[in-house]
Amino acid sequence: MKKRNDSAQMILIAGFAIGIGIVVLTVMLNNIIYASNTASEANIETNVFDFSNTVKVTTQAYEKAYDSGSINNSYIANYTSKMAMSHAIAGFIFTLHNDSLQEPYFTQNGLHTGDPDWVVVDRIDRTDSFELMIKTSSLGNASKCFVVEAINQSGSMFWSARVFNSSGTYYVNVTNSTDVLRTQNIGSGNPSLNITNNTNFHFDTLTAGKQYRIRFINGDNASGTFTLSGELINGEPFEIRRYHVLNTTMSLNKNGHLEMNVTIPVTLPRGQL
């Protein structure tokens, strides 16, 4: 009788042990299955990488599609088709559409609401061509004048052109770091200011032999176009041409979810990137 009671206790203890063992094994297996099915790159911002690439390549497409003041819609349609096929392989649906071309402001992104104070080109060694065409009706008065300035590497301004509206007459003040060198009536409408190869602006003489950057201030108080080209300190050429700005919207869908839907202004035809 005593032996049989001992066996019953053993069976009970063994039963508990087996139960605990099963629970432990289940938890271990569950962990393995869960971990094996977790995306190993889940912590990487792959989407940000893809999205920035999409924005950049689309901007380039609009730059290439811009021709003589208009957008070549066939180019954009074929580009959109190629992008849609390329994204389809990864399970994305790519769509693209744009608004009409607008006259740009001298802000960073070309829109009136863009950053008005910004560096157009940094680390310049030589400027070959710099021309502005300003819509005078958009100009502010002297206290809100549109300023183009050259700044040396230590951050000091050594040349500037201040364009403003004075009771319906439009002027440009050319200065060096301390003095006004010239005040000139620029006319009205859409006058062109050729800053290089023009002794009136003193730009070539004051920038010769210097390394500098060109900056716009109060760009939201003037609209118009500009071209700027030359060579950087590292010997690479630069070229910016801004004749129009255009809002473009691109979106990416995956599994019914909108993964990306951005509208960005693209300044055309060259130099946004």
Binding site: A14, G21, E41, I44, K64, A65, N72, G271
Partner: protein, 207 residues
């Protein structure tokens, strides 16, 4: 089976048999536990594709993204180094021979920013790498050609893709004939300036 009257069935009366069964179950659990533990331990090897090397894959992914981002960077209206490399490509593939990237015909890959970056970043860290250029044909099929090839990647390789847009005006004298003949990448749109959309695929893996 019938038993003689007065005698107990030894199978029914032997309580040790139940204990033996339970012992067998516990032994089975122990064996399964050891197997599971062993499987988890062996997944730590560097070339096994599993969550154990996920952090290595994550590192490679970020490294590859950084390399392609720096190669595709351009400013003030200039072409990026990556785009220049594609435009200068002669259609051959190159393999790292411990000193430089050479083709099967003995030609060395020179004047390539992609090769320079891979040499300084990937080669120095012992990271094997391939670079392919892929594009979509008119019939919708994807084709790819090797630019840099160092063998078949392992299971834990990562692929990073960057799209580069080519236009007719990107080529010297806006004439892509030579590029088309060398690379086999055709003009996808002959009615406009658009040439093709290239997927640059960078594959990285640990040796």
């Amino acid at each position: 089976m019938a038993t003689q009257k007065g005698r107990r069935d030894p199978l029914k009366s032997n309580l040790s048999a139940q204990l033996h069964t339970l012992e067998a179950l516990m032994a089975l659990l122990l064996v399964i536990g050891v197997i599971i533990y062993t499987v988890q331990a062996t997944s730590l090897t560097p070339l096994t594709s599993s969550t154990a090397n996920a952090h290595i894959e994550a590192q490679l992914q970020i490294l590859g993204q950084d390399m392609l981002n720096s190669l595709d960077h351009s400013e003030y209206g200039q072409d990026s180094p990556l785009k220049k490399d594609i435009l200068n490509w002669n259609g051959k593939y190159y393999t790292w021979n411990s000193q430089q990237y050479g083709s099967t015909s003995g030609e060395n890959l020179t004047n390539s920013s992609t090769a320079e970056v891979l040499r300084s970043v990937a080669v120095g860290r012992g990271i094997a790498h391939n670079v392919e250029f892929a594009w979509i044909e008119e019939d919708g099929t994807m084709r790819s050609m090797r630019y840099i090839y160092n063998g078949e990647p392992s299971d834990n390789a990562v692929i990073i893709t960057k799209r580069v847009l080519l236009s007719d005006s990107d080529f010297p004298d806006t004439d892509p004939t030579s590029f088309r003949q060398n690379s086999g990448i055709r003009d996808a749109d002959q009615s406009t300036d658009l040439y093709n959309l290239i997927d640059v695929k960078l594959t990285l893996w640990r040796m």
